[in-house]
Structures are given as structure tokens and as C-alpha cells.
């Protein structure tokens, strides 16, 4: 910090009457405030470009539940049984969600109401993630300050305010759990470090509360409850374990576990499932360790050794038996698929198609690390190096966090989000350390002048360092070069981040846009068009079948009952829909009758070249459809050509060309000209002329197709009146 204040060019504009301490505080406040505002502002691209609209899929569900919570109150929300989704199973919303996000929004909404600031709940939802990003900036500063010092904290705060890896999940309108969860996570870490450092129950209890907030807002809390015990274990191994750690961990674990069990969705998992066993085991180990230390201090070495080996054997044997019994009786829940996927990236792909089908559960491509972090990728190891240089309790924590997060981010794209803060923190430490080191050498003459005018303590340190730096020639030039290079990197970082934010992460997938030939923007608003059509033209209790991706949007925007949605809790039900989509029309009709389907909705991008449409997702429907007993007749290879290709032109597999999804997507598409010099029925997404052009639908009829054919809605016909099929 002192280095920064002394060198920054606008130093002379600071109020001169203030003492140096005050100047420093002022500067810190100034930088932090600006970083916070920047974090908020840079996330507003989508609102400025489109409108205050909710993005993606999950946020629509969150928005709908938040609305319910503000309208009906907490107890109705808690007991909410949703009969519009998962027809006819229904879904207990209150018991299957993390309510933190909704409660936070509702609290903000009611607080503002109380001050007579009337604001639409939708706007609260849209701007919640940017707001919490600003808070994250502050917490990052506090955390890094605890780890290193205030200047590193400021650098980390500035870095995190614009890091794309975090922005991708927290732009305005991206109203998702992750938006607030990162804030909660960092807050918990900050308080955890505080607790470890002070050993105070007060900080530990605060940490447990922050942990509770984290549990209530995101399923990723499992990462925290494994990282903290891992930290404690590492401290034990490295001999850093102390009474402070003991107090901190025992308090956090007990309070945190009891609090986390208050969330209905979590329930008894903290004491049953294997994901939480590390925390539990470490808690036990802490007690034993402390007890052993206590006994050791009271006994002679020989006595102690005899006692120790005896106790170890009996306890080990007893634990082994108990563990076996619990495992056999199913009390220790088997590891869930998502967690397996973390440890073994190929697990989900081989075993659970529904997990593998989600693009954000795929392993991360190397390039996306650079895309999301740019400079941080290189500065991260530097930060780790500086942490290793002075290995404190807190630094061990951030190293563990960094190593685990980078592993998990490599396994699953989605967890880039967890990596982003630690990348910023460690890079902040790295950048700040480099700058501090070289800035001192920058201009010895000027430095000397400064030294003479500052307090005596500072001057003494400066002069000593001046001696150190005279060990190599041209230190001033080298320092200048390093600082320039660093500034250059930081500037490119800013440009890169802004570009990525504006180009990649600020488009709400509900509204698509493209450039026309003249360069102006062209908006495709087909999704909302279709949902509003459903809302105004179908029976209130109409059941809509679509692939699960669109479930949340349909319930939220069209207010119609749907069969499956993005809360993929029932594999068989989704599989049933997959079977319907991948069967012939007759077979599908039976399934649709069984599930009382009135309308079928498909997304089709062939006309405008929208690539994430249902045909491109179709193989997942086949896989998921075939993954249960009832769909055993659906085999993935039937949908490929003999050469193993997935193609929709006339070489495509006849089973594919006659299944329901194909027919619904391409109904009457064969009569349509899409591109010049191409035959009718030319699919622009897959760049082929479709194979099966002239067919009629027998059991369904086209009800609505949007302007760009992006969404097509079909009505399921009633059974033939005179029984003639």
C-alpha cells in the first residue's frame, strides 16, 4: 500500500492536510468503491442492449419462485407443491431448492418497500447478481488482506471485479444461485481465516452463520465443507495445528452442521452422505488429536506409547465394524453421481446420461481457461509461489483452495466459477508482490527524496532495501521494464475482460441476435413469441411436452403445465419424454396419451442456423430415453448411419428420419427455401438438405410456428372419432 501511495501519479491531488494513514485509508476506499461500481457496471451490457430481462433457463425458475415468495409469504413458499411441473408427479418446491437466493431477493424487495421505494421484483432479480458481485469485490479485498496485505487485497479486488470466469455467471439477468453463492463462499472463507487466526468463538460462529447462508444458496457448499477440514488436516500434517484451529473448527463444524440441516433440501445429508464424511472425520480427529496431546502431556513416554497402540487398535477395529454396518444398512448414502463425476471425469459419461448431457458438466477445454482468466492463468502460480514463501495457516488454506479448485474446474466447466475468486486472490498476491518488489527499485533518487520526508521507521526500511537492490546493475531500468510490462498485461486484461463480457457473456439466451448484411443488429425474439402464444391461446390446464431444457421457461412465461423441467430429479420421467421424442409417431402417441400431453414444443434452428436446437440435442434424448427399462428398445446406434454418423440428409438412418423429433422439426420444411442456390429443405444449422421431406403428421397437427421457425408447437390430436386409424 505504501508503495502504491508513494508512486501513484495523482498523489499530489490527494488532500494534503490528511495524515499518511488517512490518505491511505482514503485511497483504499476510493479504489474499493470504484472496483465495486465497476463490477456492477460491467455486468449491465445485456440490460443496456436488450432490456431488463431474465436470462437462460434456471433463472426463470428462480424468478418464478421468488415471485411466489414475495406474493404468498414464506410459509406458503416453504410448503409449495408445484402442480404445474413434472405432470403428473408434481414437485415439492419448498423441499427441493436452496432458498437463499429467493429469500435474499425477497428481503431486499421488502426492505425497499418499507422505505417506500417501489421496485418491481423482476428488477430486484435482474440486478441481484451484479449487486452481489460488488459485495464480492469487498469480501475479496478483506480475504486477501488477511492472507497477505492490503495492497494485494486491492489488486485482487480489482481483478475479481471484471474477471470473465465470474461474470459469466453473474451478469444482470442471470438470476442464479451462483450469483450470490460466490459472495457467501468468500465471506465464509474470510471468516474462517479470521477464526483460524484469532481462535475466537465469535469469529467461528460468524463463519458458521456465513456457511449457513452459503448452504442455503448453493449446492456447491459441499466444496466448502470439504475444503475447511482439508485445511485442518493439512495444518495437522504440517504441524501448524493449534488450540486456535481446534476451537475454530469445532465451533464451525458443529454450528455449521446443525444450521445446514435446517435447509429442507439438505436435511440429514451432513450426517449421512459420504460427501460430508471428511468434515465429520476431521472433527473426530481433532478431538482425538487434542486428547492425545493432553494425555501425552500428563504421562511418561513409555506409558503413553503402550496406551496409544492399544487404543489405536481397538478404536480402529470398532470404527471399521461400525462403518461396514452403516454402509450395509444404507445409512451412509452412496456417493451421488455428480460427485463421482468430479473425481472421475468419465464416470458420468459412462453411467448417467442425464448428467453428461448438460454442457456445463463437461470437462473444461484448455482454451477456456485462458478465455475466462487471461493474465490470471500466468499470475496464479506466481501467487502460489509467494504463498509458499511465507507459509502461514492462512496461506496454506489459499494454496489448498487454489489446488482443489483448479482440479475441479478442469473436470467440470461449471466449476470455473469456484476457481475464479482464488485465481484473482492468488494473482492479486502475485502481481502486488512483483510490483512492490520492483517499484522500490524504480527511481532511487526519487525514492531517496521520499525517504527523507517520511517517518523514520519507513525511511529505515527503505534505505535497507536500497542496499539490497544495489546487488545488480541497471536495477532502475529493469524495474521500469517490469513495471511497464505488468501495466501492459493489466491493461490487456481489462480489454480482454471487457471484450469477453460484452461478446460472450452478455447475451440472454432467451433473445437471440445476429448481424445483418448491413451490420445492423437483428433480434430473434421467437422464444418469447412462442411462450406468449401458449399463454394466450391454449387451455389453462394444457400439458406441454418439450425437452427438459425449456421446462422452466415454459412454466414461468407460458404458465402451462409441463412434463419435465431443468430440475432433473426424476430420470424415468425424462426418459419417458426422450422415448416419445425418439419413437415413431404411433409409439409416441401412446406415450403422449398416457401422460395427457396436449401440446408438443420443439426448438428448431434449421431455418436460421441456430445450433443448439433439439435435433442437435437429439442424441441425448435417445441416450436418456434408452437408459431406463421401458426404453430398452431404443438403441443409440439405430440413429446413426452404418458408418456411425449422425446425419439428417438422405443417407441418415431411416429410424432417425421417421422419429417424432425429426418429423416435428422438419414438418413442411421440405417445401421451404432457406438459402440461395440450395434445394428446398436445406438445413442451415447442419448444412445439408434434409432426407425425408414429404411426410404428413397423423397424430399431431401444427399449432404454431414462430417467425423464424425457432419454436414449433404441435397439438396432439384426439383419438379418431370413428375409430379408423
Amino acid at each position: 500500500m505504501d508503495a502504491l501511495t508513494s508512486i501513484l501519479p495523482f498523489k499530489q491531488y490527494l488532500p494534503h492536510k490528511l495524515s499518511y494513514d488517512k490518505q491511505e485509508t482514503f485511497l483504499k476506499l476510493f479504489i474499493l468503491t470504484f472496483a465495486g461500481i465497476l463490477a456492477f457496471a460491467t455486468r449491465l451490457f445485456s440490460v443496456l442492449r436488450y432490456e431488463s430481462v431474465i436470462h437462460e433457463f434456471d433463472p426463470y425458475f428462480n424468478y418464478r419462485t421468488t415471485k411466489f415468495l414475495t406474493d404468498e409469504g414464506f410459509y406458503s413458499f416453504h410448503n409449495w407443491f408445484d402442480d404445474r411441473a413434472w405432470y403428473p408427479l408434481g414437485r415439492i418446491i419448498g423441499g427441493t431448492i436452496y432458498p437463499g437466493l429467493m429469500v435474499t431477493s425477497a428481503a431486499i424487495y421488502h426492505t425497499l418497500r418499507w422505505f417506500h421505494i417501489t421496485i418491481d421484483i423482476r428488477n430486484v432479480c435482474v440486478f441481484l447478481a451484479p449487486l452481489f458481485s460488488s459485495f464480492t469485490v469487498i469480501v475479496t479485498y478483506l480475504l486477501t488482506k488477511e492472507l497477505k496485505n492490503a495492497s494485494a487485497g486491492l489488486v485482487a479486488a480489482c481483478l475479481i471485479s471484471i474477471v470473465p470466469g465470474y461474470i459469466s455467471r453473474s451478469v444482470a439477468g442471470s438470476y442464479d444461485n451462483e450469483g450470490i453463492a460466490i459472495f457467501c463462499m468468500l465471506l465464509t472463507y474470510y471468516l474462517w481465516i479470521k477464526a483460524i487466526k484469532t481462535g475466537s468463538i465469535m469469529w467461528s460462529a460468524s463463519c458458521a452463520l456465513a456457511y449457513f447462508y452459503m448452504v442455503s444458496s448453493w449446492g456447491g457448499y459441499v466444496f466448502l465443507i470439504n475444503l475447511m477440514p482439508l485445511h485442518v488436516l493439512a495444518l495437522m500434517v504440517t504441524g501448524h495445528f493449534s488450540h486456535r484451529v481446534y476451537v475454530a473448527y469445532s465451533t464451525v463444524y458443529i454450528l455449521g452442521t446443525i444450521l445446514s440441516m435446517q435447509i429442507p433440501f439438505v436435511g440429514f445429508q451432513p450426517v449421512q452422505s459420504s460427501e460430508h464424511m471428511l468434515a465429520f472425520g476431521t472433527f473426530g480427529l481433532c478431538q482425538i488429536y487434542s486428547f492425545v496431546e493432553y494425555v501425552k502431556s500428563k504421562l511418561t513416554e513409555a506409558q503413553f506409547n503402550a496406551l496409544f497402540s492399544f487404543a489405536l487398535m481397538t478404536v480402529g477395529f470398532g470404527l471399521g465394524i461400525a462403518g461396514l454396518v452403516l454402509w450395509a444398512s444404507g445409512k451412509i448414502a452412496p456417493w451421488t453421481g455428480r460427485f463421482y463425476a468430479l473425481l472421475d471425469p468419465s464416470y458420468a459419461k459412462n453411467h448417467i446420461p442425464i448428467i453428461a448431457s448438460v454442457s456445463e458438466h463437461q470437462p473444461t477445454a484448455w482454451s477456456s481457461f485462458f478465455f475466462d482468466f487471461e493474465l490470471l492463468v500466468f499470475m496464479f502460480p506466481v501467487g502460489i509461489y509467494y504463498c509458499f514463501k511465507e507459509l502461514t495457516d492462512a496461506n496454506i488454506f489459499i494454496i489448498m483452495y487454489g489446488m482443489t479448485a483448479i482440479y475441479f474446474a478442469g473436470v467440470m466447466v461449471r466449476l470455473m466459477l469456484v476457481l475464479a475468486p482464488v485465481m484473482c486472490i492468488l494473482s492479486g498476491i502475485g502481481i502486488s508482490s512483483i510490483l512492490t518488489t520492483y517499484m522500490r527499485n524504480l527511481d532511487v533518487n526519487q525514492l531517496k527524496k521520499t525517504t527523507s520526508s517520511t517517518a523514520s521507521s519507513q525511511s529505515s526500511s527503505r534505505s535497507r532495501r536500497g542496499d539490497d537492490s544495489s546487488t545488480y546493475p541497471r536495477k532502475n531500468e529493469i524495474a521500469f521494464g517490469v513495471v511497464c510490462l505488468m501495466s501492459f498485461f493489466l491493461i490487456t486484461y481489462v480489454f480482454h475482460c471487457t471484450w469477453v463480457t460484452s461478446e460472450a457473456y452478455s447475451s440472454p439466451s432467451i433473445v437471440l441476435s445476429a448481424r445483418t448484411g448491413t451490420g445492423s443488429k437483428y433480434i430473434f425474439d421467437d422464444f418469447r413469441e412462442a411462450y406468449w402464444w401458449l399463454r394466450y391461446n391454449t387451455d389453462e390446464d394444457a400439458k406441454v411436452m418439450s425437452w427438459w431444457d425449456y421446462g422452466y421457461q415454459i412454466t414461468a412465461m407460458a404458465n402451462r403445465t409441463i412434463l419435465v423441467d431443468n430440475n432433473t430429479w426424476n430420470n424415468t420421467h425424462i426418459s419417458r419424454v426422450g422415448q416419445a421424442m425418439s419413437s415413431t409417431e404411433d409409439k409416441a402417441y401412446e406415450i403422449m396419451r398416457e401422460l395427457d400431453v396436449d401440446y408438443v414444443l420443439v426448438i428448431f434452428g434449421g431455418l436460421i442456423g441456430y445450433s443448439s436446437d433439439d435435433i442437435n440435442k437429439f442424441l441425448w434424448m435417445v441416450r436418456i430415453g434408452g437408459s431406463t427399462e421401458k426404453g430398452a428398445h431404443i438403441k443409440e446406434k439405430d440413429y446413426f448411419t452404418p458408418q456411425g454418423e449422425f446425419r439428417v440428409d438422405k443417407d441418415g438412418s431411416p429410424i432417425l428420419l421417421n422419429c417424432l423429433m425429426y418429423k416435428l422439426s422438419y414438418y413442411r420444411f421440405g417445401e421451404t427455401y432457406t438459402e440461395q442456390d440450395k434445394p428446398p429443405g436445406y438445413d442451415r444449422t447442419r448444412s445439408v438438405e434434409i432426407g425425408n421431406k414429404n411426410f404428413e403428421l397423423e397424430k399431431l397437427e401444427e399449432a404454431y410456428t414462430t417467425e423464424h421457425w425457432l419454436v414449433r408447437i404441435y397439438k396432439v390430436k384426439k383419438e379418431e372419432n370413428r375409430g379408423q386409424s
Partner: protein, 444 residues
């Protein structure tokens, strides 16, 4: 809450009688009679008189009348059609097979009579209903059961009441009386996959359909044995009824009155034709076998209120009033085999409803599985209109306040946790305020 209750009320769907534009109940009796020639009016006068006695409003038209129309100002002007015009190749005016099909789909009832010649329009209409008439000039031949008045081709056959469908609603007393039927006309075959068709009267096992003029059978007969349909009916999903009779003469005065003497000498003074023809017409024109459901109510057994949703393990009562159309009036239905299902994909509850003077009632406990259920009554019996009613309700899990507050089996845990708390408190109290005497002395 308000929204939910609206949903509940809105969900009461009747797919019974009134899903069509034609609201046919017993009181609608406008009949269009289409004839090949108006002479049929005289040769079949007994039949028509019976209909007029039953207060049917008959309008006779020649089938090639150029002013034929079923729809006027967007509304159907007839409720039923009698097609006694087998020979008509093409109808006059605005009438063809497609319009007839639409008429049926809108809920209208049609009675069709054939003869050895069948016009294309009727053939096509029959095809739409899953009935296929044999080729022109074919006739049902039975060399073992024919009337003595037969011309030698054995086409004036005697159909035994044994081959009649056992449903009093459709065939009236004809089966009970046991008089044989005189039949001279064409045979039909039905689409075996169409579950809506009923074979009312079939030929005997020795009958077949072929061209009687050809001395030897050159090809396999169109229909053989009991597969030869003489009379068949279709009840569409919208409960419109269509009757097909292979013989126009079946309804004639001659056949109604003529005594029967079969080739093997059995005699009876009168044929059963009149009985069957009238009963069949009554049925086709919805004077019989029509059911309706009304006043569907479901409520909690406990306090007789209808909540906007049910909770698992509620005891509930389901009520519905069933009426049957008998002799021109809606009377309470007295069947005791009506079942109620509580369905969520599969039926979780299936129970026979108690009939209390047309008021059907079922009581059951909601299953211990939440979800969106439907009360389904699917009453589908031969001769009755298909009565289907589905009422959607949602079944919620328990509210957070509805669980047991204290569980008996958990008392050891309650005790242990409270004793633990007391112990921890006492221990910390002692640790904090207990003063050891010994170290003091040591220090001093």
C-alpha cells in the same frame, strides 16, 4: 388459493354428450329420410308409421333431390338420417360421403340400409366407419337356412336370433322373443381393428356372400360363415351412432308381416324383423342406452368441504349423479358396476361406486403419494353411450405443521440431547468457578 380452486372447477371435463355442435338428446327427433324412389315410402310404410308414432319428425327426400342439404345457416337442420337409398350413385344437392362423415363427427346419427347394389357414396361413407360392403350384385347366400318363398338362389335367408347380439338395449326384445329374421341383401365385413364397431346380427355358419347369378364360385366369397355381417353398428367416440343393415327389404312391410317357413320346415307366424328394426332404430337414434353424468362433487369426508387441493391420506368422498334416458325421460341410472379410478399415470385406487338411486358414491383414502391425480369414470358398456369423465385434483404432501410433533420412538434421543445440554452446562460452570486449593499453595 383462488387460482387453485378455479383450476379445480375448470377441470371438470365432460367428454360425454356435449362435445359436439349437435346436441343430440332424446328430444331431438328431426329425421331426414333419403329414398331411392318415393315408392319405398309406401313399401316400408309400417316402419315409418312406427317412427312417427314415436314422435319422430320425418322428412322424406329423394336421394337425388338437387336441394338436399344438411346444414342451413351454419346449423344442422336434422338430427338423424335414414339412408334408404342403396342404389344412389351420387346424392343430389350438397351431400356426399364427406358431409355425412362430418355429420357423424358432429354428433349426428345415421341408419344405412343396403341392398344387392350399393352406391359409391354410401360405400365410401361405410368405409369411413370401418364397414366394408361386398361388391355390387353380391348377396348373402345360405343354402341351409332360407325361406320357402326364395326364388331358388337362396338369397332370402333366415337369420337365427341365436346370432343376434345379446344386448337388450340395442336389439330390444328381439332375442327374447326368439323369432327368426328375414333378410335379403348384401353382406358386410368390419374392420377388425376398430373397437367401436359392434356386430349386431351375423349370418349362420353356412352363409356366405357371393354373386348368386354365377353358378360356380370362381373366387373366394367376400365373407364366410359368421363373419358375414347382416346388421352392424358403430358408436363413435363422440357417441354418435351409425347403424348398417345389409338389406333394405329388412324394413319392408312384406318382411315385417310375412310368416316364415324355412327350408327344413320350421315355421313361425311372424318374422322378428319389426321388433329388431324398431329397436335398432330407437338405439341408433339415441332413444335408448344414453347416459349422462352430472353434479360431480368431491369433498373431504371429515367436514364435507371441497378443498382446493387434497393432502395425502385424506379421506374423501366422490359423488356423481348418473341419469339414463328411458322412454323420453331422464331417469336415475341403476347400474351397480360403475367404477371410479384415482389415477396418476396408473390407477392408485379403483373402487366400485355405490348406487343410491342414481347417486353414485365412492369413499376412499387418498394414497400416500403426492402428485396430480384425476378422478376418472370410464363407463363403457355395450349398448350405453361411452361415459368418460376426468376431474383433476392435486394431492399435496403434509404441511410443515402437520407432522407429528413428538415421536414416541425418539424419546431416548430427546432425553440424551437434553441431558447432554444440562451436563455441558454444569461442567462448564464447574470448570469456570471451581477453584483448586492445591496450586494456590504451590504458587505461594
Amino acid at each position: 388459493m383462488a387460482r387453485l380452486s378455479i383450476i379445480c372447477i375448470g377441470l371438470i371435463l365432460f367428454v360425454t354428450v356435449w362435445s359436439s355442435s349437435l346436441n343430440i338428446e332424446g328430444s331431438s327427433k328431426r329425421v331426414l329420410v333419403l329414398l331411392d324412389n318415393l315408392a319405398i315410402r309406401e313399401t316400408h310404410s309400417f316402419y315409418f308409421k312406427q317412427l312417427r308414432d314415436r314422435e319422430f319428425d320425418l322428412t322424406y327426400k329423394s336421394s337425388d333431390d338437387s336441394n338436399l342439404q344438411l346444414v342451413k345457416y351454419g346449423e344442422y337442420i336434422y338430427d338423424h338420417i335414414i339412408l334408404f337409398a342403396p342404389g344412389t350413385k351420387e346424392f343430389g344437392g350438397r351431400l356426399d360421403a364427406e358431409i355425412l362423415t362430418q355429420f357423424v363427427d358432429a354428433g349426428g346419427n345415421v341408419l344405412v340400409a343396403g341392398s344387392h347394389i350399393i352406391g359409391d357414396a354410401i360405400r365410401e361413407f361405410a368405409g369411413e366407419c370401418g364397414i366394408e360392403f361386398a361388391d355390387d350384385k353380391n348377396a348373402v347366400i345360405d343354402h341351409l337356412n332360407y325361406d320357402v318363398n326364395d326364388n331358388g338362389q337362396h338369397t332370402l335367408i333366415i337369420a337365427s336370433p341365436d346370432n343376434l347380439l345379446a344386448s337388450e338395449l340395442i336389439t330390444g326384445e328381439a332375442k327374447k322373443v326368439g323369432l327368426p329374421f328375414l333378410f335379403r341383401g348384401i353382406g358386410m365385413s368390419s374392420d377388425s381393428e376398430n373397437s367401436l364397431l359392434l356386430d349386431v346380427l351375423t349370418g349362420s355358419s353356412s352363409s356366405y356372400t357371393a354373386n348368386p347369378d354365377e353358378k360356380t364360385l370362381t373366387e373366394y366369397p367376400t365373407t364366410v360363415g359368421k363373419r358375414t355381417l347382416l346388421v352392424s353398428v358403430l358408436q363413435a367416440r363422440n357417441n354418435a351412432r351409425v347403424g348398417f343393415v345389409g338389406s333394405l327389404d329388412f324394413f319392408s312391410n312384406d318382411f315385417f308381416q310375412s310368416p316364415i317357413q324355412s327350408n327344413d320346415g320350421k315355421k313361425s307366424a311372424k318374422s322378428g324383423n319389426e321388433e329388431l328394426a324398431i329397436a335398432l332404430t330407437d338405439w341408433v337414434f339415441k332413444q335408448r342406452g344414453v347416459l349422462r353424468a352430472r353434479n360431480i362433487r368431491h369433498y373431504l369426508k371429515q367436514d364435507k368441504t371441497t378443498p382446493s387441493f387434497y393432502t395425502i391420506k385424506n379421506d374423501l368422498v366422490f359423488n356423481v349423479q348418473f341419469d339414463e334416458f328411458v322412454h323420453g325421460k331422464w331417469m336415475p341410472f341403476n347400474g351397480t358396476d360403475v367404477q371410479l379410478e384415482f389415477v396418476r399415470i396408473d390407477p392408485f385406487v379403483r373402487t366400485t361406486m355405490k348406487n343410491n338411486g342414481g347417486q353414485l358414491e365412492a369413499q376412499f383414502r387418498v394414497p400416500d403419494t403426492y402428485g396430480i391425480y384425476k378422478f376418472i369414470i370410464d363407463y363403457n358398456r355395450i349398448g350405453y353411450t361411452h361415459l368418460f369423465s376426468a376431474t383433476q385434483v392435486s394431492v399435496h404432501p403434509l404441511r410443515h405443521t402437520e407432522y407429528e410433533r413428538f415421536i414416541t420412538s425418539a424419546y431416548p434421543y430427546y432425553i440424551s440431547s437434553f441431558s447432554m445440554m444440562v451436563g455441558a452446562f454444569l461442567l462448564s460452570f464447574i470448570v469456570l468457578y471451581h477453584r483448586d486449593e492445591m496450586p494456590k499453595t504451590k504458587v505461594e
